[in-house]
Symmetry: C2
Subunit: 244 residues, 2 copies
């Protein structure tokens, strides 16, 4: 029993762009069903060529890439509203995997109908492109972090980013606090650090009273100081984020 787009709880959030009744009913017809994935399980395998792509309805996850010897890079974290699996829809093969970090629910779309969307709903097509460009922007930011920032700056940047995404997407109600189902290893793999050094860096941030991170919860205690450390600039996405 999957949720109809017309009464999708996500769409009620102000962070997302509102659609007209007509658009909603098209999206509803576009939606094939829902996928529910347990925490820790893969949503999409790297290298796969799935006939579906998805919008995250509930829960958080991550995109990651692996090397043959087990080294892993987390490419981005995923929150409600994110479009996932577009690569296989457009390019034929996923070059990163997606896994659930908490239990997730995703709306399922058929890649075959993507073309129909482009032809019949240019506004939705524009939205897809908007999301792709935004994802590219995030990866650019991550690349700058991993390539040029020191460990403490990277972790600061990541935590701020994750909290912002969590707030915008409604993953958390609180402005400064969120449920944090990620492991330190996940942070490490996103920051390009070892888990040991990530742990020590987190300790340092705690000692400075910048953050709290325990019992599966993250709180940013000194947003200004942490933001300065990360040299973080709020991206200005004036209109609501599109939601497929």
């Amino acid at each position: 029993m999957s949720v109809h787009c017309q009464k999708c709880p996500l769409r009620r959030r102000p962070a997302f762009k509102q659609l007209t009744e007509d658009e909603l009913s098209f999206m509803d017809s576009f939606k094939m069903g829902e996928l529910h994935v347990d925490a820790g399980a893969p949503v999409i395998l790297e290298g796969s060529n799935s006939p579906h792509f998805y919008t995250v309805l509930r829960g958080a996850g991550m995109r990651d890439k692996g090397l043959a010897d087990g080294r892993r890079q987390v490419v981005n974290f995923i929150f409600p509203g994110d479009l996932v699996g577009l690569q296989s829809g457009l390019l034929g093969e996923m070059k990163h995997g997606v896994e659930a970090v908490s239990d997730m629910a995703l709306c399922v779309f058929s890649r075959e109908r993507l073309w129909e969307l482009f032809r019949q709903h240019p506004e939705r097509a524009y939205d897809v492109t908007w999301l792709a460009a935004t994802e590219e922007r995030s990866l650019g930011e991550a690349l700058l972090s991993v390539g040029r920032r020191a460990a403490k700056e990277r972790i600061a940047q990541l935590l701020i980013y994750m909290l912002r995404r969590a707030v915008e997407s409604g993953f958390t109600k609180d402005e400064a606090r969120m449920r944090f189902p990620f492991r330190q290893q996940d942070l490490a793999d996103a920051a390009g650090l070892s888990s040991v050094h990530t742990n020590k860096t987190l300790q340092a941030l705690r000692r400075q009273g910048m953050i709290r991170l325990d019992a599966g919860e993250l709180e940013i205690l000194k947003p200004a100081a942490l933001g300065e450390l990360a040299e973080y600039s709020e991206p200005v996405d004036p209109p609501g984020r599109p939601l497929l």
Copy 2:
């Protein structure tokens, strides 16, 4: 005196998707003119909000991001056929800059007419999205490199990638060799390494007879060995790359 799309030399290359006469004449009307930029000069400034976006016609460049204290990350290298400045067209502001490494020529498009393209030419809109997704894929690959690969592997990966792009885009005729206008500092900023260490890494690759890099030219002498080092997998982009 700018080139008409109908007789664009780039389009003749097999690597690019062919358009019909109708499509070509639309693209030609879409094209506002040409921009010529000298080597070393900026094409787009980070943080700018330009009314234009571009397709690279000739020459090579790079996308980069900077931090306040001067640290810089090269986010990607740019070759003919690449779409540049789409971020400002879609999202309102460039989060990376673009600079010319050799003299460049670019076709100029108006961001205002991007919407018209989406509405009236869904196939071209699809192409734009394809290009955005491909760019995202490249950044993911770069992120994996910088985050998890050792220096030698990173440089190997970069050189292979650059040569492949150069070949596909027609920047070079040769399969194993290219004109190489980039500085070691640029490689370093792309790999997330210091220029000193980049230099020493290049020496090591030379000593192993893997590459030749001098006199502004790069040659890959042992593609198999270098590819294995980089754990490089050829991306399969079966149909031609779209060219706006």
